[in-house]
Amino acid sequence: MTPPAEQLLKDKIRQVWRETLLLHRRAPETRLASSLSCIEILVALYYGGILKFNPEQPQWEGRDRFVVSKGHGSISLYPILADLNFFPTSELEKIGQAGSFLGSIPDPVIPGYETINGSLGHGLGVGCGMAVGLKRKQSSSQIFVLAGDGELYEGSNWEAIMFAAHHRLDNLTLIVDHNKISMLDFCAEIIDHSPLAEKFKAFGWMTEDVDGHNIKQVQATLSEFRDIRNGQPKVIIAHTIKGKGAGALENDKLSHIKSLTHAQIDILLEANNDSN
C-alpha cells in the first residue's frame, strides 16, 4: 500500500468512527462497543480494494458476498454503505426511527446486506452454501464472513468450519473480530476458546493472526488471502479492542450492553477534533 492510500484509509477510519458515535447518539439501543472493534476490518474491505461491489446494483451477480454474521456489532457499516451510495447519507439521520430501514440489528432490507443477522452463528454456514454455489457457477466472486469471537460459542459455526475445510472452500474467508469480550464477560472467563488460530488450523483452515486496528496489516492480509486459492478456507483472527476509542468502554467486560450518554459522546468527538 502506498503512503497516500494508507492515509486515505486512516481518514476513512476516523470518519467512520465519528459517524458510528453519532449513530449511537441518535439510537442508544445500538451496540456501540462491538461496532467500534471492527471499523478497520470494514474500512479495509470496502475502501482497501478487497470487496467487489456495485452500489447501484447491490445484488449484482459479480459482487463478492460479504456476510455480516455479527450483525448487531456492525452499525459502523452503515456510514460506509451510505458513503459508497448504497443508500442516501440522509438515511443515517433516521436510524431507529419509524420508517427507517436502519435498525439496531441490520437485515437485508438495507441495501448492501446479504443475510438475516442478529441471531448468531448463522452467517458462516450460509456463506459455505454460497461458496459451493459460486464454485459451481465458476464465479470468481468470493465470500467474506465477519463473525464475533463470542459468536463462536454457537455450535453451528463448528459444523460449518468442518464443512468448509472438507469441501476445500478457498473462495471463503472468515474474519473473526476477536475483541475478547462477549455479552456478560471476557471470553476467557466464560469459556476460554483461545488460541483460536490453533483450533482453525486443526480443522484444516489457513489462518493468520493480525492486529485488527493496524489497517496496513488488515488490508495486506485480506488482499493476500483473496489471491490464495490453495484448497483451504481462510480465517483472519483480528485481535481488536472492544469499544475502541470510546474511553470508558474499552476493555469493560460489560461494554456490549452499555450505551454512552450524549455528553460522553460529545466529549469523545471533541477530543477527536482536537487530536487532528
Binding site: V109, G125, V126, M130
Partner: protein
C-alpha cells in the same frame, strides 16, 4: 380404488428427482447423512451436486439457504424430527425470514412422518412437525398420503420458489390413488368420497386410516366422506370450506399433536372464518409421549387415534 405396489414416498420421489437432475443442472441435493437406495444413485451420478453435510442439520439448512440464494433449486433430506426441530431456528432465520426478502427454493424432505419409524421410539417419531412448521410464515407444508401423491408433488417443488417442508412417511405402503393419476393440485386437497353426514378430513397416513375406516363403515351401511388434505398452508380455503359445508360432523385426523396448531386448528379456523355449521371432533395425538413398542395402529390407540377408536367415534355420531 386400484391396488398398487408397496413403495416408499422417498424412493419414488427421489427416483423422479434423479431424472430431473439429468436435465436440470440447477438442482442440488443435500443430506444430513441419511440415505436410501435411490440416493446412492444420485450420489453416484451427480457427485458435484450431491453433498452429505454429515449429522449436522443446522449446517444442512444454512448451506441449503446459501445455495438457494445463489439461484440453485435445493433439496435437503433428513429424518423428519431432525430436519424440523434440531434446526428450527435456522429454518426460521435463513428460510422463513430470508425468503420474504429474496426468492429462494429450498425443499426440506423429512422422512418419518408421525409414528412411521414405529419401533425407534419418541426421538424418531414426528408428531410436532405439522404444527411447528405451519407456524412459520413463507413456508409450504406438504403432507402426502401415499407415494403417488408424493411423486406428483415434484413439479410443484421445482416451480414454486419458496421454502417447503415435505412430510414423508418412512414405510413402504400401497397407494390410495390410481397409479396413473396425479393427485397433487395447488388447491391442496382431494375429495376421495363425498356423501353421508360425516366427513373425515385427514392428512398423511391418517388419510389411509380414513379410507380404511370408510370401507368398514360402508360394510355397515354407513356412508362416510373422506377428504385428503395434503397442502397444510396456502390451500384454497374457500373451496375447502364449500366442500365441508354440507356435513353434519367433520372429524380431523392427523398423526400429530392435536390442539396445537395442526390440521385440527386449520379446520377449526376454517369453520370459524366461513361460518361452517358442522360439529367438530379431532383425532390425533394427545399431550404426552409414549415409550411403548408395538404396531403403528397400537401406538395410535394409545391416544384413541387408531381405527377402533375412530369407528367408535363415528358410530356414536351416526
Amino acid at each position: 380404488m386400484t391396488v398398487t405396489k408397496n413403495k416408499t414416498m422417498r424412493d419414488v420421489f427421489l427416483a423422479a428427482l434423479l431424472e430431473r437432475m439429468r436435465q436440470d443442472s440447477s438442482i442440488f441435493f443435500l443430506t444430513a447423512d441419511f440415505g436410501s437406495p435411490v440416493l446412492d444413485q444420485i450420489r453416484n451420478d451427480f457427485p458435484e451436486r450431491f453433498i452429505n453435510v454429515g449429522i449436522a442439520e443446522q449446517n444442512l439448512i444454512n448451506v441449503a439457504s446459501g445455495l438457494a440464494l445463489e439461484g440453485f433449486n435445493v433439496y435437503a433430506y433428513a429424518i423428519a424430527p431432525f430436519i424440523t426441530m434440531r434446526c428450527y431456528e435456522q429454518v426460521k432465520v435463513n428460510l422463513a425470514l430470508m425468503s420474504q426478502l429474496r426468492e429462494m427454493n429450498v425443499n426440506l424432505i423429512g422422512v418419518g412422518a408421525g409414528f412411521s419409524y414405529v419401533v425407534s421410539g419418541p426421538t424418531h417419531h414426528s408428531i410436532e412437525d405439522i404444527s411447528i412448521m405451519r407456524t412459520l410464515p413463507n413456508i409450504e407444508v406438504l403432507s402426502p398420503a401415499d407415494w403417488i401423491t408424493a411423486q406428483s408433488m415434484l413439479d410443484f417443488t421445482l416451480h414454486c420458489h419458496r421454502p417447503k417442508y415435505l412430510r414423508f412417511d418412512s414405510q413402504p405402503a400401497p397407494a390410495i390413488y390410481a397409479e396413473d393419476s396425479k393427485p397433487f393440485n395447488e388447491h391442496g386437497f382431494n375429495v376421495l368420497n363425498a356423501g353421508g353426514k360425516i366427513c373425515l378430513a385427514a392428512t398423511g397416513y391418517m388419510t389411509v386410516q380414513a379410507v380404511n375406516t370408510h370401507k368398514i363403515m360402508a360394510d355397515e351401511g354407513v356412508d362416510v366422506a373422506v377428504i385428503d388434505i395434503f397442502r397444510l398452508k396456502n390451500f384454497d380455503m374457500a373451496e375447502l370450506a364449500e366442500n365441508l359445508r354440507g356435513y353434519k360432523h367433520v372429524i380431523s385426523m392427523e398423526e400429530g399433536f392435536i390442539g396445537k396448531g395442526g390440521l385440527d386448528s386449520l379446520l377449526l379456523n376454517l369453520k370459524n372464518d366461513f361460518n361452517l355449521p358442522f360439529g367438530f371432533k379431532s383425532i390425533g395425538i394427545g399431550d404426552n409421549y409414549h415409550f411403548e413398542l408395538g404396531a403403528r395402529d397400537r401406538l395410535l390407540e394409545n391416544y384413541h387415534a387408531g381405527i377402533e377408536s375412530t369407528l367408535k367415534i363415528i358410530r356414536a355420531l351416526v
